[in-house]
């Protein structure tokens, strides 16, 4: 099989991937940008398009930003990564605009408090709004990729990373549109594969493509993962109709000064949510739902009515209208919901993943030649991410990973391609179309998603997590016998089958990391360990492959002595 030759392959073409790829290409590397979705898609495309910056207000500074990050992240952040994020946040919108994005300006053409947002968990107004929201950012990313010397391969799913003697050597992928394998030899690979929201479908507001591929690919190749139990739930999403379950309805900073959370019996559970983190509100909701105080649709009630009596409350309504959330409420619940005249039925939804590939300040993982950026990487946000920092992270860490990978590739000799392994991986895919085993891939994928929501959701305990580990093992056994349609091109069966293999690995790591962390911190809530335990658990959970199996280690917080 003919292998393509590159200096760097970047997997994933949302904000982190495109930024990394074009930065590396500008530094002289020959880069292939390979993406499951078209270039510029991924979750970047469907984001609200608000990007954190720093220093729009004179009182703001990287030091304040850093404090916000670690307070919000409940001190689980990797201090070095959080420091980089804070120091370089002001670069994020500048990088995006250099790609062609445009952020809303004031009447004088500048960026000032009036056009900036104070997103959830931030002390100051420091986040800026992109024209066209995430779509606008995403179109600029695609344009910047077109402008750059990178080669692109869209609609292609990576199935295995190849390594040789502890170094990256290339990868094997499957071109979904052409229905053919792709083998690439390269001394450096950047994982910018985004998060894992789809592992919780329908309880997610993420793209269908967010199946956590990069975590499993990196783990399999020998790289370390960190704090994989930290799955972020946004507190408010639709509970019905079925086609809209999990669709984002807002976060705490949007609910106005008089927003209240009620249970099904209209008992007040929370007020003053505006200044609470996503984790704090989601936690209260998950615990109430577990007590059986939910509505018949499995949600709680977000009552925004009293906001309409105050100017600041009415401004909150306007903000929700501007970002499109009221339209969603109207489609799900009708015109009274749009007008905030009746409470919304809401349930937490998976939005983001704080854990991921363990990286240094330059995006390097523990495996030589393997880099990660964006949601695929862990550690910047600790146990809870603040609003608008994910988009900023894409540009800041995408750029860093691109520069570092280019530098690495320049100095590296090229490991030989492990040809047998590559041929085996490609053959494993090619034999799937038309396979006549027992289980359809989508059936197992839906079982995995259901299991993650039920047992590895916003509240966890040892009994359910242990059951989840066993059920995942059983699913992995069933996944040995798959039944697929004969098509090779644009086959949903085949895509689900390839993602299923990776999701089973990622789900196992998430579940066992959650079992390991015997405390409640940020997005990780243990009903059997309801308190934060700094004496024991101000520590990272590091997952790695050892002797063919998962090994978890509890390590002192990176960078802290």
């Amino acid at each position: 099989m003919e292998a393509r030759e590159y200096d760097i392959v970047c997997i994933g073409a949302g904000g982190a991937g495109v930024t990394a790829a074009i930065t590396a290409a500008a530094a002289g590397a020959r880069v292939l940008l390979l993406s499951k979705d078209p270039i510029g898609y991924g979750n970047t495309r469907i984001a609200v398009g608000v990007v954190a910056s720093c220093g729009i207000l004179p009182a703001d500074s990287p030091d304040v930003f850093y404090e916000d990050l670690v307070v919000g992240g409940e001190h689980l952040n990797n201090p070095k990564l959080a420091r980089v994020m804070a120091e370089e946040a002001a670069l994020a919108p500048a990088i995006a605009e250099s790609q062609g994005a445009l952020f809303a300006r004031d009447a004088g053409g500048g960026i000032s408090r009036g056009v900036a947002m104070r997103a959830g968990g931030h002390r100051y107004h420091r986040s800026v709004k992109a024209h066209g929201k995430g779509i606008g950012l995403s179109q600029a990313l695609r344009a910047a990729a077109a402008r750059s010397a990178v080669d692109v391969l869209e609609e292609t799913v990576t199935v295995r990373l190849l390594s040789d003697g502890g170094r990256i050597a290339g990868l094997v992928a499957w071109d979904l549109a052409a229905g053919a394998p792709v083998v690439v030899r390269a001394p450096a690979v950047i994982l910018a594969t985004g998060g894992l929201g789809w592992m919780y479908y329908p309880h997610t507001d993420c793209m269908r493509s967010a199946t956590g591929d990069g975590y499993a690919l990196g783990y399999e190749a020998g790289a370390e993962l960190v704090d994989m139990e930290q799955v972020q739930f946004l507190p408010f999403s639709c509970t019905h109709p079925a086609s809209m379950v999990g669709i984002f309805l807002g976060e705490p900073s949007f609910v106005g000064p008089q927003g209240r959370l009620l249970d099904a019996h209209e008992r007040e559970l929370l007020v003053g949510m505006e200044t609470m983190t996503r984790a704090q509100v989601s936690r209260v909701m998950a615990l109430e739902l577990r007590k059986g105080n939910g509505t018949k649709h499995g949600g709680l009630l977000l009552d925004l009515r009293q906001n309409l009596e105050t100017p600041r409350g009415r401004a909150a309504w306007q903000t929700m209208k501007d970002v499109g959330l009221l339209d969603i409420a109207k489609r799900a619940y009708g015109p009274k919901a749009y007008a905030w005249q009746e409470p919304w039925d809401v349930v937490p939804t998976v939005h983001f993943h704080m854990g991921g590939l363990r990286i240094d300040e330059h995006g390097a993982t523990s495996l030589a030649g393997l880099y990660a950026a964006g949601e695929a990487a862990g550690g910047v946000h600790g146990a809870c991410r603040l609003g608008s920092v994910a988009l900023a992270e894409l540009f800041v860490f995408g750029r860093r990973a691109g520069l570092a990978a280019a530098e690495f590739a320049r100095g590296a000799d090229r490991p030989p391609l492990p040809r047998d392994e590559a041929a085996e991986a490609a053959a494993n895919v090619a034999r799937l179309p038309g396979a006549r085993g027992e289980h359809r891939p989508v059936t197992l994928v839906r079982q995995l998603q259901r299991l993650m929501w039920d047992k590895v959701g916003a509240v966890r305990d040892e009994t359910e997590l242990s059951a989840a580990v066993a059920e995942l093992r059983s699913l992995a056994d069933q996944a040995r016998s798959l039944r697929l349609g004969p098509e090779r091109r644009q086959s949903l069966d085949l895509l689900d089958a390839l993602e299923l293999r990776l999701m089973l690995l990622t789900a196992d790591i998430v579940t066992r990391s959650a079992l390991c962390r015997q405390e409640t911190r940020g997005a990780h809530v243990r009903a059997d360990y309801p308190d934060r335990d700094d004496a024991r658990w101000l520590a990272n959970i590091v997952a790695r492959r050892q002797n063919g199996g998962l090994s978890l280690a509890v390590e002192p917080l990176a960078g802290v002595q």
């Binding site: 979705d37 078209p38 898609y41 495309r45 469907i46 002001a90 919108p93 500048a94 990088i95 605009e97 250099s98 062609g100 445009l102 952020f103 300006r105 004088g108 053409g109 500048g110 960026i111 992109a130 024209h131 066209g132 929201k133 995430g134 779509i135 606008g136 179109q139 695609r142 344009a143 910047a144 077109a146 402008r147 692109v152 869209e154 609609e155 549109a177 229905g179 507001d205 793209m207 269908r208 019905h240 109709p241 079925a242 086609s243 809209m244 999990g246 669709i247 984002f248 969603i328 489609r331 799900a332 359809r440 989508v442 839906r446 349609g485 098509e487 091109r489 644009q490 086959s491 949903l492």
Partner: protein, 221 residues
């Protein structure tokens, strides 16, 4: 609870394997709030040989799921499901299989027409800029390609015969204060003079495609 079931039809084809377009009928649950995308997902989950389709965000943000419903381009994720609906791939675009249209021509198109702002590098940020309202409106285009499917003068695969989507891409830059290229000349190359101003290029999200993109590039007031 048993859902009320209804029939819908889906056009299937597989050019790769020489299968001509043919209509197949499926029974799907029609619960309150059901959408076309929900029906396609249901068919996929329950039928061994399901039509192929695209699904992204389920919430009208990504533009991937556009299909033809009863002769009109629609985003499957926000289109209410009705009895007897006929679902086809978007018209006038090359079909890869079933409801999936080819999308790989877009990157080469962007490259050929230099559809990007020139790289100014990382400068002091933020530069003072002011962009007209049209810029923000057009930046929200999800590239679902519904406008192309509805355009009577567009022909796929021929550069000299562009359609509304092509003009939206040009106009995004035409309204960008940083772009210095002659986008109207490019629109002429793409055959904007052929536009009959029929305004069938209606956008599912309400972007004024003709008024904000086509007319300004064509020099129509």
């Amino acid at each position: 609870m048993t859902d009320h079931m209804i029939s819908i039809s889906v056009e299937r084809s597989d050019p790769e394997r020489g299968r001509e377009p043919a209509i197949e009928t499926y029974e799907v649950p029609a619960e309150a709030g059901a959408t076309v995308l929900g029906a396609l997902l249901h068919i996929y989950e329950t039928c061994e040989s399901s039509p192929a389709f695209r699904c992204g965000c389920r919430n009208q943000d990504c533009g991937l799921c556009a299909v033809d419903v009863n002769g009109r381009p629609r985003l499957a994720c926000i289109t209410p499901l009705r009895k007897g609906m006929v679902i086809r791939p978007l018209r006038r675009l090359p079909v890869a299989r079933d409801l999936i249209i080819d999308r790989r021509w877009i990157m080469p198109f962007l490259e050929r027409f230099d559809l990007f702002v020139r790289d100014g590098g990382l400068r002091e940020w933020p530069p003072r800029l002011s962009a007209p309202a049209e810029h923000a409106r057009l930046a929200a285009c999800t590239e679902c390609l519904s406008c192309l499917a509805a355009c009577p003068s567009f022909e796929a695969g021929r550069d000299e015969i562009g359609g509304p989507y092509h003009f939206v891409k040009l106009a995004q830059l035409y309204w960008d204060p940083r772009d210095g290229a002659d986008r109207r000349a490019q629109a002429a190359l793409l055959g904007i003079a052929r536009c009959p101003a029929c305004r069938k290029c209606a956008c599912p999200l309400g972007i004024p495609v003709y008024r904000a993109a086509v007319a300004p590039l064509a020099g129509v007031r």
